[in-house]
């Protein structure tokens, strides 16, 4: 008989049992409960060992339920068949129900006292309270105290309890450990939502003593991250969870959007082109100097050899942005792809005219031609992002703002261009963080589709090397990688292995069958395979076992809802697009003024002038645009061609 609890004291929900075959150990124990119980896989429980004398309760052990068993006193299934005389319907007619047991296995989260480490006492088992959850997960070490560093990650929910679970900022954002990896099947909006929620949580709870923090998010598919500044729909349960977690349910206050142009060079290549929103999107355009340092990203390693590498280095070191004598009497100042093309042409012409040899400054002409072909091709393949000519428009290096999300939308960019954007952006972040002049002390870089960028197999790529570098060394700099993927098993081991915190959403059963998940019990795997939206399994350095948490929907507009509410605008004609961009910079500008200015002008000239205005942000944008555009050059009149009389006047006679 279950003894009623004493008033004021919680009733035990089970008791630890141990047999020779299933003993209690310092890391695992078994307990039984009533058949009808509120706990399940993932529940946190507390075991109180019997105390000695009047010294109160003895050893206290916290555990998380990792497996469950039910069985009856049936000796063999055959006996059930015999009793029912072979008729399954009759089995249900038995007047008595067999004795059953609910036996649970729990993994130890924490023991108090921690030393000496001993087997779990055979005591009563209780549902963990809020305070117990904090103790069990060792959150007491960093959620309270003079400099708390807890970052809410969600609510632990079991047995009617909702207890906030915190990550330690020192272990999420460095310097102790860092990086976060999230896995889960696609299409459930869990991975992106979790990161959006967690960023909001970080922005609100990042400890003041750790300085300023920003996030750089690469939007690599659809409109996922295009509406982070717009409020999304929340229900009462979400609001209650936000309140419980101490997070304000509101969209991000400061979001900066960047997107390259489309091939036309004036329409932005993003889904955030609704007239009400497109004004916030800054163009992302890079020129030769931005690209050349990362030429390795764009050039296929297989066909670029050491000689080509050396020539590219020569161009970077000796030619770019310098007065350079080509050796044939010409002087070049290479700043753009067009300038570089001019240099190449001069070299080829010079070698051909001089007839000297096939070598130019120790570089063979074949190597020069190869590099020229590859580089010339870049501006074609990444048109819109890489400009042939003209200045660049870039992220605000050195001026990053606290609690600001920088979204770089490369969803519709050629994969090569995505690699370039990622490589350059991360390199610049690292460069500035090393110099401590980025504007913030820590940056979270969010990369989705890690399967694609850091696969476990396949050729070594620049991007993968870069991700490895962040994973292994970023925490010292404050460069933190938040990465998401569908199949964790297919991501480079060192990238996922260096993630201090790991989140799992609903997982694919095949993925769970891979060796990386062997540490999980079958029951936990089943739970992972059926995890509802909004629930995650969390691994964190302070938690000795994975914990399940529920997080509220992010307070931002989901990508697909955003596209419905703010449908992307159709591409504007060239003239209209130029007008809109100038008008955004200076509201006094009238469309007709711009149209008159650019009528019959070469689009490249217009684009160059527009980029200059964007970069300079003058008070009088139209005047500056006019000056950059230069004077209209009247087309020269072609001299009239004189008719050349036929050598033999046509006679009347045909022969």
């Amino acid at each position: 008989m279950i003894r009623p609890a004493e008033p004021g004291s919680p009733a035990p929900l089970g008791r630890v049992v141990a047999t020779e075959l299933k003993p209690a150990t310092p890391h695992q124990f078994h307990f039984w409960t009533a058949n009808e119980t509120t706990i399940g896989i993932g529940a946190i429980v507390k075991v109180e060992g019997p105390g000695v004398g009047d010294q109160g309760p003895g050893r206290v052990v916290y555990g998380v339920v990792t497996d469950g068993f039910a069985y009856s006193d049936l000796a063999t299934p055959l006996h059930d068949v015999v009793a029912a005389e072979g008729d399954p319907a009759r089995a249900a007619e038995s007047p008595s129900v067999r004795q059953e047991i609910r036996l649970w296995t729990a993994a130890v989260l924490r023991q108090q006292p921690e030393e000496p480490l001993q087997p779990v006492p055979l005591g009563a088992v209780y549902v963990a309270s809020d305070a117990d959850v904090a103790q069990a997960l060792r959150m007491d070490a960093y959620v309270t105290g003079a400099q708390p560093s807890g970052i809410p990650v969600g609510l632990y929910t079991a047995a009617g309890l909702e207890a906030p679970v915190y990550l330690d900022a020192d272990f999420l954002l460095g310097p102790e450990a860092a990086h976060l990896n999230i896995s889960g099947v696609s299409g459930l909006a869990t991975k992106t939502s979790a990161v959006e929620f967690l960023l909001a949580s970080i922005f609100e709870h990042f400890p003041a003593h750790k300085g300023r923090v920003a996030a750089l998010c690469f939007n690599v598919k659809g409109p996922d991250l295009c509406f982070l500044d717009r409020p999304g729909a929340l229900d009462d349960a979400d609001r209650r969870r936000y309140e419980r977690l101490g997070i304000t349910p509101q969209p991000f206050e400061r979001v900066r959007y960047y997107a390259p142009f489309k091939a036309d060079g004036v329409n932005l290549n993003t889904l955030r082109t609704h007239p009400d929103l497109v004004g916030d999107v800054e163009p992302l355009v890079w020129g030769l100097s931005e690209v050349l340092d990362f030429a390795e990203v764009l050039l296929n390693r297989d066909d670029i050899d050491a000689k080509a590498d050396a020539f590219i280095d020569f161009l970077s070191d000796r030619v770019l942005n310098k007065e350079f004598d080509d050796g044939f009497g010409g002087s070049h100042r290479v700043q753009t792809f067009a300038d570089l093309n001019g240099l190449f042409r001069a070299i080829f012409d010079g070698l051909e005219l001089s007839g000297r040899s096939d070598m130019w400054r120790t570089h063979h002409i074949a190597t020069i031609r190869k590099v020229r072909n590859r580089l010339s091709n870049i501006s074609t393949r990444c048109k819109g992002l890489v400009t042939d000519d003209g200045p660049s428009s870039d992220l605000p290096w050195g001026r990053f703002e606290d609690r600001t999300v920088y979204v770089v939308d490369v969803a519709n960019v050629d994969p090569l261009g995505q690699d370039l954007v990622f490589a350059r952006a991360v390199s610049k972040l690292r460069e500035h963080l090393e110099r401590r002049d980025l504007g913030v002390e820590a940056v979270v870089v969010f990369v989705d589709e890690l399967n694609k960028y850091a696969p476990g197999d396949g050729p070594e790529t620049y991007v993968r090397k870069m991700l490895l570098d962040i994973s292994e060394r970023g925490r010292y700099l404050g460069l933190v990688l938040f990465a998401a993927e569908q199949f964790r098993s297919q991501v480079h081991r060192r990238v996922v292995g260096n993630a201090g915190t790991t989140l799992f959403g609903r997982m694919d059963a095949d993925e769970l069958a891979t060796p990386g998940y062997h540490v999980l019990s079958p029951a936990v795997k089943i739970k992972l395979a059926t995890l509802p939206i909004g629930e995650l399994m969390v691994r964190h350095p302070h938690f000795t076992q994975p914990i399940f948490v529920r997080f509220p929907r992010p307070a931002v507009l989901r990508g697909r809802d955003g596209v419905e509410r703010f449908p992307p605008a159709a591409d504007l004609p060239f003239e209209e697009a130029v007008v809109r961009q100038l008008a955004r910079l200076d509201r006094r500008i009238r469309p007709n003024q711009v149209k008159d200015l650019i009528a019959e002008r070469r689009p490249d000239d217009v684009r160059r002038a527009l980029a200059a205005v964007r970069r300079t942000r003058p008070d009088d944008a139209l005047a500056y645009f006019r000056r950059m555009l230069g004077a209209r050059v009247a087309p020269a009149t072609a001299p009239a061609r004189e008719a050349v009389p036929p050598l033999n006047p046509i006679s009347e006679e045909p022969y």
Binding site: M1, L74, A83, P95, S96, V97, R98, Q99
Partner: protein, 329 residues
């Protein structure tokens, strides 16, 4: 910290022992012919009950008891037995689950005081344990003394069951039945109650001879005999009874699946003997395996036994290997 009475007698000079006799389980029964009077039929007949609509009481209480014992010491050659008896009533409601409604247990020391040395006697008296005295003629030979102790303990168990059963009758709901493992006729209250059933698995006592005995013991599965009234023996009360075959005996033995049912000696009992039998047939499921007596042991009774065994103090039963010689360490 108070010591157990076993520790006390060992300290008082008893030679320690740890001996569980082979026949410590089970119960003794009469092994004699007593005779019976026909109630339903003059001559014993058989009735098929498989197609009879069974009685289906919403709530049923099941009563059973256990006994555990072992020799814990010797005073000279006189054994000192530690006995434990317990009985419980487990009630089954509409959810078909069994829950304990009442239980009682008792620990006893069985020996002959006069045969023990004075310090042992004092130690036993001081310990406060219930003492069951063996008769003088039973303690001459240790083997006989042990058999006598077993009978004493069985009597103690029956008394415990009877007391608990009678107590339970008072709390029985208006439509609730009490099913007892064993005879009802030992108790005036139980045998007189209209909703008490005794289910007897052992068949030491025989009530028929000749063709009627053959008819009773070769009863087909799903059949019962006519209701009869066993002839009174000693203090036993008037009761109605019949045999019921739960499982086919062919291929096993005559008593396989055979139970004898006891119920209130009343015309109503005769009228619903088939319905009661059909109900007990349903109680075959679930099987009470792995108990060796599963062919006659109702699952609910088995459940009461299991419950009682799980509640038995662990030191009553000698742990395996405890008879190995003690090592020096």
């Amino acid at each position: 910290m108070p010591r157990s009475w076993v520790d006390a007698i060992l300290a008082a000079g008893a030679v320690p022992a740890s001996y569980v006799p082979d026949a410590s389980a089970g119960r003794t029964d009469l092994e004699e012919f007593t005779g019976a009077d026909g109630v339903e039929d003059v001559a014993l007949r058989t009735y098929a009950v498989a197609d009879t609509r069974p009685l289906a009481p919403g709530t049923v209480a099941f009563l059973d008891g256990i006994e555990q014992w072992r020799v814990v010491g010797y005073g000279g050659v006189t054994p000192i037995v530690r006995g434990y008896v317990a009985a419980a009533v487990r009630r089954r409601g509409p959810d078909r689950r069994l829950r304990t409604a009442a239980e009682a247990s008792r620990e006893v020391a069985i020996t002959r005081l006069e045969s023990l040395a004075e310090p042992l006697r004092r130690a036993l008296a001081a310990s406060g344990v219930d003492l069951l005295e063996l008769a003088e003629e039973d303690v001459g030979q240790p083997g006989r003394a042990i058999q006598a102790a077993r009978r004493e303990l069985e009597r103690a168990r029956l008394a415990q069951e009877r007391e608990l059963g009678e107590r339970c009758l008072a709390a029985l709901g208006p439509d609730e039945w009490l099913v007892v493992d064993g005879v009802l006729s030992d108790s005036a209250a139980l045998s007189a109650h209209p909703r008490a059933l005794g289910v007897i698995k052992s068949h030491g006592a025989q009530y028929f001879e000749g063709p009627e005995l053959e008819r009773a013991l070769t009863l087909p599965a799903g059949h019962r005999t006519s209701v009869f009234q066993p002839k009174r023996r000693g203090a036993r009360r008037a009761i109605y009874s019949w045999y019921l075959r739960l499982w086919p005996w062919e291929g096993n033995d005559l008593l396989y699946g055979l139970v004898r049912v006891e119920a209130h000696a009343d015309a109503v009992t005769v009228a619903r003997a088939s319905a009661l039998s059909a109900w007990l047939l349903r109680e075959r499921s679930p099987l009470s395996t792995p108990d060796a007596r599963w062919d006659r042991l109702l699952y609910a009774i088995h459940d009461v036994e299991t419950y009682l065994r799980s509640r038995t103090p662990r030191d009553v039963i000698a742990p395996p290997g405890s008879r190995l010689p003690r090592t020096g360490s």
